[in-house]
């Protein structure tokens, strides 16, 4: 039964991924006028224009283009970069580790920061500690990461000289990008943790536990924490997209050589096949992360299995 639900959820992700790929395909056709003009300028030699048109399959009917694009995706042919003529997939794969590293450290940082903060705020609900924690949370959601990054850089790299300004080849170069990327998530999660913890503390189950004389500490950490975990995990998953999207900006700020920076470089050079590949891979990661969170929710909360 449980296995069947899991299988259904996994199968449901397939049409979503296909839809994502379709939308990405049509992105290229949003370029106003002739993409070849946009790429080469109107003064280019006719022979060059024709070569590019064939390279992008623009000489074929659109359905054929779509078909060959999809079959290319499955066979690992994601097109060729217009700038350095290397396969798009190859260029993407070499950038995946940097983004994965940054995203994982940021996520870890966010969780490590948010859960104690949410707990602290809930434990002192309505008091000054709560106000302080929620004030941090409000600042965290409101501060744009493309400003937080430069400000951190200004203070800790330029002013104090403690950390490297940008790049990823020095020790400690991960710290500022991870804080920049993780802050918004920490803010949202701590808020969620606070409210779900408080809600869990007012549930019948915790009241019963209290009636049995179980220590307050144990109720908070064993009973209520488990009840509060489900909405927090769900929120965590929903925010993964924001983290992946935020990585595009954070990597640009810190010159962090991951997928996000690759996307922006591709956009600046009008390397459309590479832009498509980057957007597709990031969106696919997001779909898979959501799927994983969905399954985690099913595992944590048996009530969801009845849907």
């Amino acid at each position: 039964m449980f296995g069947q639900i899991v299988l259904t959820r996994i199968l449901q992700a397939i049409p979503t991924l296909l839809g994502v790929a379709t939308l990405v395909f049509f992105l290229l056709h949003l370029v106003p006028g002739d993409p070849v003009d946009a790429l080469l300028g109107e003064t280019a030699m006719p022979a060059d224009r024709e070569a590019l048109r064939i390279a992008l399959h623009l000489d074929q009917p659109i359905l054929y283009q779509y078909g060959s694009y999809l079959s290319g995706l499955f066979s690992g042919d994601w097109g060729t970069s217009l700038v350095d003529h290397r396969p798009v997939l190859e260029r993407i794969i070499e950038r995946v580790p940097a983004t994965t590293q940054l995203a994982l450290v940021s996520l870890l940082l966010a969780v490590v920061l948010a859960l104690p903060l949410g707990y602290w705020a809930a434990r002192h609900a309505g008091k000054s500690q709560d106000v302080a924690a929620m004030g941090f949370s409000l600042i965290g959601v409101s501060i744009p990461n493309f400003w937080l990054g430069p400000i951190l850089m200004l203070i800790f790299a330029v002013g104090l000289g403690w950390l490297p300004v940008s790049g990823m080849d020095q020790p400690g170069s991960m710290i500022l990008p991870a804080i920049t990327l993780g802050t918004a998530l920490a803010a949202i999660l701590s808020r969620m943790a606070r409210s779900s913890w408080l809600e869990a503390m007012s549930m019948d189950a915790t009241r019963t536990a209290r009636a049995f004389g179980i220590s307050e500490q144990r109720i908070w950490w064993r009973h209520a924490a488990r009840l509060a975990a489900v909405p927090v995990v769900t929120m965590f998953a929903l925010q993964l997209g924001a983290v992946l999207g935020g990585a595009v900006i954070t990597e640009t700020v810190f010159d962090w050589p991951g997928l996000g920076l690759l996307t922006i470089e591709a956009i600046q050079r009008r390397d459309y096949p590479l832009v498509q590949g980057c957007v597709l891979i990031i969106a696919s990661f997001y779909v898979l992360a959501n799927l994983a969170a969905d399954l985690l929710g099913l595992w944590l909360d048996p009530r969801q299995r009845n849907v």
Binding site: L138, S142, P144, F146, W147, I249, V253, T263, I282
Partner: protein, 268 residues
Amino acid sequence: MSKSSLKLVLFCLSLPVLVLLLALFNGLDGHAIDLDAVLTGMNSSHLLGTDALGRDVLARLSEGLQLSLSVGITVVLLGGMIGISIGMLAGWIGGWLDALLMRFADIVLSFPGILLAIALAAMLGPGVENLVLALVAVGWVGFARLSRVQVLSFKSVPFVEAAIANGSSAPYIAIRHLLPNIAAPLLIEASFGLAAVIIGEAGLSFLGVGVQPPDASLGTMIREGTRLMLVSPALVIWPGLVLFSLVMAVNLLGDALRDKLDVRMDSK
């Protein structure tokens, strides 16, 4: 709204309002290049100093702020109208149309929002119109899903059934009976949406796919300021501070709105 959160909103709004008023009184042109007065720092003629081309920072902040607000409001209004229409239609008619529209909404939501906006803006090309288009293309979905769910929950309520029975047309029911009843959650969505769009506009402009030089956006100002951070840190601090206070004020208003409307729902 509680007194303390009202005070906080006013505090957050004071910087943006001050920028707008001072720029108005100063009356300087944010596009006037003066290569004899480059990166001056604060002085009496340029209250917040000048940028690398000798342009008045205060005037450019005010221009960027106005752009943030006008893009933000336009996108929320357009996205709201499109999203609410689609969502209500899907919820009301149901069947294959509902399935089709919501499937499409799901696909749009499968992208990190900012990433899709970046890709769309990059493909459409630079300029404010395309920036608005890209943000609307991402922003309508939240409104659509919310209004669909709301319409579904009101479809079988007696007063709506009565309106159907006495032969009211669907558009009439939608506007007279449904919209006023689903307005509260949509308003909350709109206020948080506004904050997201304001950050989104500045973010896209920061990345170079939104507002183009010489026009001022808080995002492009942060981008230019970052390059000159070592020489003149004020150039990156001011536009971000203005943006941050504006977004914080909008978020606080959204919070207050949510608390207020939730309370009313709870007390029945």
